[in-house]
């Protein structure tokens, strides 16, 4: 019992110990959903690519940064920042709102066959975000042949400081 306490104290000390004597600020955690994700949707019909900054999944008036997948009976809410690519395998969704797809995660390069939810009830799930110029853009998930996900601001250029509306 005593040795476990000593162990906990030692671990706590190692975690908070620093090697600098000068003020070093505070290290707050990155809040959930704070990672901006840029997606590139390749259109089913014409293969035209649409770049969407700050992508969220939208259904109705609600927005989320997670997409629902299913492998067998296992359902999972995948954060967009944890996905590298999704290739949708059909043009029509099943009655439960899922469609076959090939999924590649950010932490696992192996492509996996999964079901991806594209409809919630009678509402279509959409990719929602902004173009580089700041214009709002919304695309039905099902219209994309494939979707690539880029965490953070990869590939994006800084358009300069924002201007306030008058």
């Amino acid at each position: 019992m005593r040795s476990s306490k000593v162990g906990i104290v030692t671990v706590a000390f190692v975690l908070v110990s620093v090697s600098t004597a000068v003020p070093n600020g505070i290290n707050p955690p990155r809040p959930s959903g704070a990672s901006a994700v840029t997606t590139v949707c390749k259109d089913q019909r014409n293969n035209v690519k649409e770049e969407i900054y700050r992508t969220r999944i939208k259904y109705g008036n609600k927005r989320t940064n997670k997409i629902e997948s299913r492998i067998g009976a296992t359902a999972e809410q995948l954060p967009l920042s944890g996905i590298r690519s999704i290739t949708l395998g059909g043009s029509k969704a099943r009655s439960d709102g899922f469609v076959k797809a090939a999924l590649v995660r950010s932490d696992d390069p192996e492509e996996k066959s999964v079901l991806i939810k594209v409809n919630r009830g009678d509402r279509k799930l959409r990719l929602s975000g902004f173009r580089r110029d700041g214009a709002a853009v919304t695309i039905d998930l099902m219209t994309c042949k494939s979707i690539e996900f880029f965490p953070g601001t990869a590939g994006a250029e800084d358009p300069g400081p924002p201007v306030m509306k008058h």
Binding site: A36, A156, G160, P161
Partner: protein, 249 residues
Amino acid sequence: MTGESSKDERQPLLPDRERARIREEMQYAMVVMHESRPPDKPKSLIDKLLAYLSNGFVLLIVGALISSVMVPQFQRAYDDRKQQVNLMHECFGQFLLYSNSIWQEYYTILPLTQELEIDKPVYNEYLAKIAQVKLKRYDAFAKVQALAVVFRQDSQRKSPVESALKTYAIKLNTTSAAVDRWLTRLYCTPVNREESPCETFDPSFDAFGEFEKIKELVIKTGNEESENVATLMVQQINYFNKGGTHAFK
């Protein structure tokens, strides 16, 4: 009876012949003494000066001159030096207030790192908080800038402290501008909102990632850069305190 005895007392004790003999012997002894003494050396200039100064009146004049001219002059020089050191200390104190303000700014926005986006009231609230910090900093900077003149050796030429202060102020302003820009972008960039409240915004803005960059900037400016200027000031004050001039480099 009484008249006779007083008459006897008035009579000389020695006869005239004896007196004359003693007088002659004394004169002879004086002549011998005078002739046996070595001749007087001629007085040197210092001896003459000392002899002159030992005169009471001369001493009075010299003392009056010292107390009316030289003492006030030394006192004035001492007071001036003391005043300069005090101003240097005040300048240093104001510099510490000035340089610490960037930490206040940093800690003011820290709670917002846990927000994905902010609305107008929150933006205005934090803008007001930062404005207060900035106003105090501007006040401290004005004082530091004015007081830093005391480090000058030549009234026309800027001292090393003033040059270091200017360089530091530019870096501090750059860091402060980064904080401003971050707050504005957090307000302007929509996450869950349909659109931005601003005319334009940066869709690639990553609030948390940008805050990490600000933190690095604040640590560099608030620690290394301010330490350099503070060290220079303290060295100058110490040098001046030990009797040196402003020529320290």
